[in-house]
Amino acid sequence: MADAGEPEGPERKDDIVKAKQEGKELTKEEKQRLRKEKKQQKKSKEKKDDKPSRDSEKEKKPASAASPAPQTPTQPPAQKAPSAAPAPVPVPASETPSAADKPAKSKAELKAERRARQEAERASKGKKGDVGPQAAPGKPKAPPSELQPVVKRLPEHVQVDNPEVLKKLAKKLERQQTPEYNAATKVKIPLRSDYGYKVSLFSHLHQYSRKAPLTQQLGIPSTVIHPAIVRLGLQYSQGIVAGSNARSVALLHAFKQVIRDYTTPPNEELSRDLVNRLKPYISFLNQCRPLSASMGNAIKYIKKEISNIPSQCKEEEAKRKLLNCIDCYINEKIVLAAKAIAKYSIEKISDGDVILVYGCSSLVNHILCEAFEKNRKFRVIVVDSRPRLEGREALRRLVQKGINCTYVLISAVSYILPEVSKVFLGAHALLANGYVMSRVGTSQIALVAKAFNVPVLVCCETYKFCERVQTDSFVSNELDDPDDLIVTRTGTTQLEHWQEVPSLGLLNLVYDVTPPDFVDLVITDLGMIPCTSVPVVLRVKNVDQ
């Protein structure tokens, strides 16, 4: 393929170089030709490897599973220069020209890299195609199977105890560049390092310290990551913006700012370039705090919208359209959905009810305030747990409205449950097998409520439904800063020197999953459904799109 292209290549290239030098805007044809050439060059380089096209697929598959964005290295012309394409095992004559270009690498390093690639390839063989949108010019990739349910295996970035995977991740972050034609400004997303001893059952997850935010490792000025994104990353990692809906809305607003400040570089199309511009930002945010399912869905939507912009659209109009799309998304999926869910929930709240809520869910608080305004007579029991003590925020909001509230800690749940008539829970995500992923402690409450025969209602918008499947809380979770557990109510810190005790580990989990047998009803903006019908809603949504 590369060979077939060669003869015409050089002539056309001259044309294009001339056009560039004359400062003319490249026509669409020329842009396509340029892209094709870049592709061919990359292919001819990679063909000389041990594993030809599989290499690009492989690099893509683990990478694509790792972040919601598929990794498609649209190589800028920088890669025409001798660059990071790994030199292979001695292979016949065609090797010699490429060997001349490649930087000298030691045999051992190469072997290690190849082994890592092989591992990744073996791991990725079981995976089906990425459901995410194929934004950039596609290299051959397994077609996204959107009509069949996608079973995603554990993404490789969540294998923190596997050193080869870590090395690959570091390389991937290095390689993520903003596509500038002069290779001078390369974005380097720093790799955040883990902190402290990790409990062995969770050693495959990251554990970061809040005192070492990722932004300290960025140079000043960080011209390559948009300041709105840097600010957002800091807000996430310090816990200033917390809660599933709040994080998604903040993300979308930051993206709106990025789009407003974006200008298309001279030889690129907005629909392709903007998506590539967003990728390093998403990796950065992921390093600050792992993305939630709702954020993942929002990002998928934005990428789809961007790649659907017709190429003849003017930049101003395209930007306006995108900003409009984002506003619509926020309005429909979050604001209006909350209103619809409140309407359905109010039917389920009768006078004289005693309602139990856990932690601070913006949706549940909204429902209770609405029901109170519609003059339903009920009282609320707020259950709270350390170290976040989010229940206090919920308590503040409800008491401000004038609702009769009681406040207990989670250890007292079996004591007050005989008084309770209904339990309302919020959700972080609803998984495809009907499991509810929510703040740690939720499944405990659901279990105890089931034992007391109290109905459990989960409220969740449909944009939080994700196609992942999980049956336990170990395989994929988030570990928060273990230092949060040190301080107690009286201010004594007996655990202050926990790092010095080798047999002691502190575990600060963030999420857990509740099986569908404990949940009686899920209230979504589409109506009231049983927990086992989540895949039906996902199917209906996919058909709609």
């Binding site: 389920k348 209904k422 109905p455 209602l457 009686d520 009803l521 589409l526 109506g527 009231m528 459904i529 049983p530 086992t532 019908s533 039906v536 809603v537 209906v540």
Partner: protein
């Protein structure tokens, strides 16, 4: 408009008298179809409004869940087509044709259910059933016609002793039948192989609403590990989601005339109860054999 209501109810009663074997929901739908044909509305919206009013009228006569669900499904079915003709009478014709189609489909539903269910009755089986259900009767008829030998226990089902009616009908089929007290369900369960009941309504969670005493039977059969089968036609699927017994709306719990005459409902005894989906093994409907969690899937398809 009261006069019209009375006329509707008369027609409904006439339909029920004509064919006592017909489900009350089917009679209601026939009445609605007739109403549609005679209606002199000028707009589609007006047509829908008057159909809704007619359904309410009929629920005032017969308060069962099936009448209300059947009415709503009828309305959805006929308006689910493209009504983009300029002419109102053309639209009406389309709606009437759809209505006839709907009626035809549901008249066949009992036969379909019987065909699916009778294979689950093995030779020599002992069956327990509750109160008088025409669908269960049809299933047992089909099984008897297939030369299967089985015997049936029927509960008396107070306060209206409908179980005795069921026993009579079964004796005519030469099926050995025993009438038991409602309180004897736990006692008799160790002797039976399976339990089959009908349903007045199938709710979104996959549970059913049926004559009072069904919930007890379901709990006992779960304790004894006996399969609990429900037979119901698809027009009984309703968009309710009760969380417990109290959550079922009052308008379904009591008979229509009780609702109209009595002041204090808490002194009246409810006629139906709710059986949660965890106690049901399978549902036999004209849409196929479903597990309780698949009911929601079908409901989403029917209603959305």
């Amino acid at each position: 408009s009261d006069n019209d209501c009375l006329k509707l109810v008369e027609y409904f009663r006439a339909q029920m008298r004509k064919d006592p074997d017909m489900a009350s929901a089917v009679a209601a739908i026939r009445t609605l179809l007739e109403f549609l044909k005679r209606d002199k509305g000028e707009t589609i919206l007006g047509l829908r409004e008057s159909l809704k009013w007619a359904t309410d009228c009929l629920t005032g006569e017969d308060s069962s869940v099936a009448v209300s669900s059947g009415g709503e499904l009828f309305l959805r079915f006929i308006s689910l087509t493209s009504l983009e003709h300029q002419d109102l009478s053309r639209c009406k014709k389309v709606m009437e044709e759809r209505g006839e189609l709907f009626l035809e489909k549901i008249s066949m539903s009992r036969t379909k259910v019987a065909k699916l269910c009778h294979t689950f009755i093995k030779d020599g089986a002992k069956i327990l059933t509750h109160s008088y259900s025409r669908v269960v009767l049809r299933v047992l008829e089909k099984a008897a016609a297939e030369k299967k030998r089985f015997s049936v226990y029927v509960t008396e089902s107070q306060p209206d002793s409908a179980g005795r009616q069921m026993a009579e009908a079964l004796r005519k089929l030469n099926v050995p039948v025993t009438v038991v007290l409602d309180a004897a369900v736990g006692y008799v369960l160790e002797k039976v192989d399976l339990v089959i009941v009908g349903a007045e309504g199938v709710v979104e969670s996959g549970g059913i609403i049926n004559k009072i005493g069904t919930y007890q039977m379901a709990v006992c059969s779960k304790a004894h590990n006996k399969p609990f089968y429900v037979v119901a036609e698809s027009f009984k699927f309703v968009r309710l989601y009760p969380l417990n017994q109290q959550d079922v709306p009052d308008k379904f719990k009591y008979k229509a005339d009780t609702l109209k005459t009595v002041q204090n409902l808490s002194e009246e005894h409810p006629m139906i109860d709710y059986t949660p989906p965890s106690l049901i093994t399978l549902l036999f409907t004209d849409l196929g054999v479903l597990t309780p969690s698949a009911v929601s899937d079908e409901l989403i398809k029917l209603y959305l």
